[in-house]
Symmetry: C3
Subunit: 265 residues, 3 copies
């Protein structure tokens, strides 16, 4: 089943004509396509951040949605453009540079195709903007009923990037900062199961993030602690997050993505 | 009458997956919903700024439009989620934290419901993201024909925030800075009627904003004064605004939202 | 032929209610209009930057698309609002301040109308926001089948802004920086023909940008040079661009828009 929804994620930014040109290209092929922006403010060339945002947002979309992910420092080189179909019926178009590592891991791979069929692309292909000239038109054709297998030959593997994983011992749970969100909250790679195996909601914990130490309450939500207090909680994308209620922990601790954290009871 | 337009306003920012997840949730329930962004760049947790932007934009939308307002520092606590129907036929979904103070004041309250019907929400509700798990699905169901009364029990009052009001004496008109827009223009709480009762377009006025004093011309539009001159004018949202033509008055005066101003003839 | 696609470009920014109000106005007239943002982050009052972004994006859109361009420092003065129809079947609505210089040059002018028909505008027109009160409703009416000639009298000329042009001598090709994109790549006004008349892909060139000198490779795409090396290439909007692979040349060189560059072999 395919829908006419095309969801976009990129590092193309809001100020240039890039995203507009992709949307125009899609609408030129299917003026009934429903185009939705996830974000175009992924940090420049940050494939891992895009992989994470995509995996966090994708599940909310209807079956058959086609995602285009354009964080593509290797554009125009031999890296492939691919179409990935996941087991939960979503479609992902983008460069084969690891950007689909997390959606493959979370949703499972059903099929992978290399995009090679030039009849589904724009007649002129800029070697620096495959998002507009290859990915956007292929996505638009899929919403019109073109079969996934028509985009090119089936392939068996995709490029993966290394995603750090949390470690649990009897006395410590360690993980990594994957993202600092718009509110300065720290999103980690510690999933719900690991977090709840280590501690219970309501407990007070101590966390070391690089060389800083914080006392935090394992809470349900912000309002469970007073303004100015620190907390951790199961975040909206299913992993443990750290925050200072009404504060900005990322700025306060000068967090860098990838920083290691160790939680102690 | 309800339309299929859902308009979003929030402090969720452009860089994270949050807004994308709300849109995906809506489209999963009604793939024909027409989703429009007002802004997601409301200053973090600034309920008053959101109330103002919402009241300024809402009137332009078609009857039956459903607005979702997510500036929600109390998410997951006992604060209610509500559906407000105004007398001009618009619907507003959001936290009961005062965010609807101005639309209630300007458009009048027809009905208010507390949102409690779990069958209209996502099966799993994150205590930190009701925008995605409660408000978005309820809005989507409304576009499909669910009646407002189905969302939960009718209630009689909503939380209000204090909005400063202007004061007019014989020699002075005083008010407050409600917003500094993208151009550095200062939006005040002085409405058209009060402004025109105090002075006439064409007059020269003197304004004190905290400890700074400016000479301004009461003009129709920017081009009525030369580049570099100051003016005030009835702004596009119906209140008095102050600007320096081709300048940025907010930066120049280091304005803070809420600053008091006194206009003298 | 007209489509129901309305594409928006402006300097109105993302944080205010402005763009939301334009969209609401359009949907109030035609709730089936398909509204697409090109960008609202054009530098404040920068008509030339808007002209460039518009010309770069427009070609990707379907025939009949209606563009609204709101970079309008003269709003409310005697400057006209116009509707421009180009020879490739696109429609442009905006102030007559030169913002359509490049689309007129690239696509050719079919017809120009001054917008004067008040029955197609909002009943109340703010002298500081014609984007919402004149341009948005006129565009919406066009998507409903109103004929271009109904908006007002045909006129013969539009305001043009001076766009610098490149110069080619036997030993030098000179041009100007038109834009620095989200990646810090420098977009010039040197078109493909001029660039390929002067040099061949694969050649090493020397470029002087104001008082700085760079050695660059004329490449197809970023991956043709190693990380940290400089390159020039035919960019996705058809003109020569300069970049440092995985770097940010605009920041590094403190580029100002309009800076002159001279390329030597």
């Amino acid at each position: 089943m395919r829908s006419s929804v095309i969801a976009l994620i990129s590092d193309l930014g809001a100020k240039d004509y890039f995203v507009g040109a992709m949307k125009g290209t899609i609408l030129s092929i299917n003026s009934n396509a429903k185009i939705v922006d996830i974000t175009h403010e992924v940090a420049r060339h940050d494939v891992r951040a895009a992989a994470l945002a995509l995996a966090s947002a994708a599940n909310a979309f209807p079956e058959g949605t086609i995602f285009i992910a354009v964080v593509d420092p290797g554009v125009g080189t031999k890296r492939r453009c691919i179409l990935l179909q996941t087991k939960n019926g979503l479609f992902f178009i983008g460069p084969d540079n690891g950007i689909f590592t997390l959606v493959a891991e979370r949703f499972g791979i059903a099929k992978i195709y290399e995009i090679t069929n030039k009849t589904l692309m724009s007649p002129k292909i800029s070697p620096t903007f495959h998002g507009r000239d290859i990915m956007a038109p292929v996505a638009a054709h899929l919403t019109l009923g073109v079969e996934p297998a028509e985009v090119g030959p089936e392939i068996k593997t995709i490029q993966l990037i290394e995603i750090p994983h949390p470690e649990l011992t009897q006395s410590e749970l360690s993980g990594h900062i994957l993202n600092a969100d718009n509110f300065g909250n720290l999103v980690t790679d510690i999933d719900t199961t690991a977090a709840l195996r280590f501690a219970k909601v309501g407990e007070n914990l101590r966390v070391k993030i690089e060389d800083k130490v914080l006392e935090v309450k394992f809470a349900r939500t912000f309002g469970d602690v007073t303004a100015g207090e620190c907390l951790c909680f199961i975040g909206s994308s299913g992993t443990l997050e750290f925050a200072r209620n009404m504060g900005n922990l990322a700025e306060e601790l000068k967090i860098k993505i990838g920083d290691k954290l160790i939680i102690q009871r």
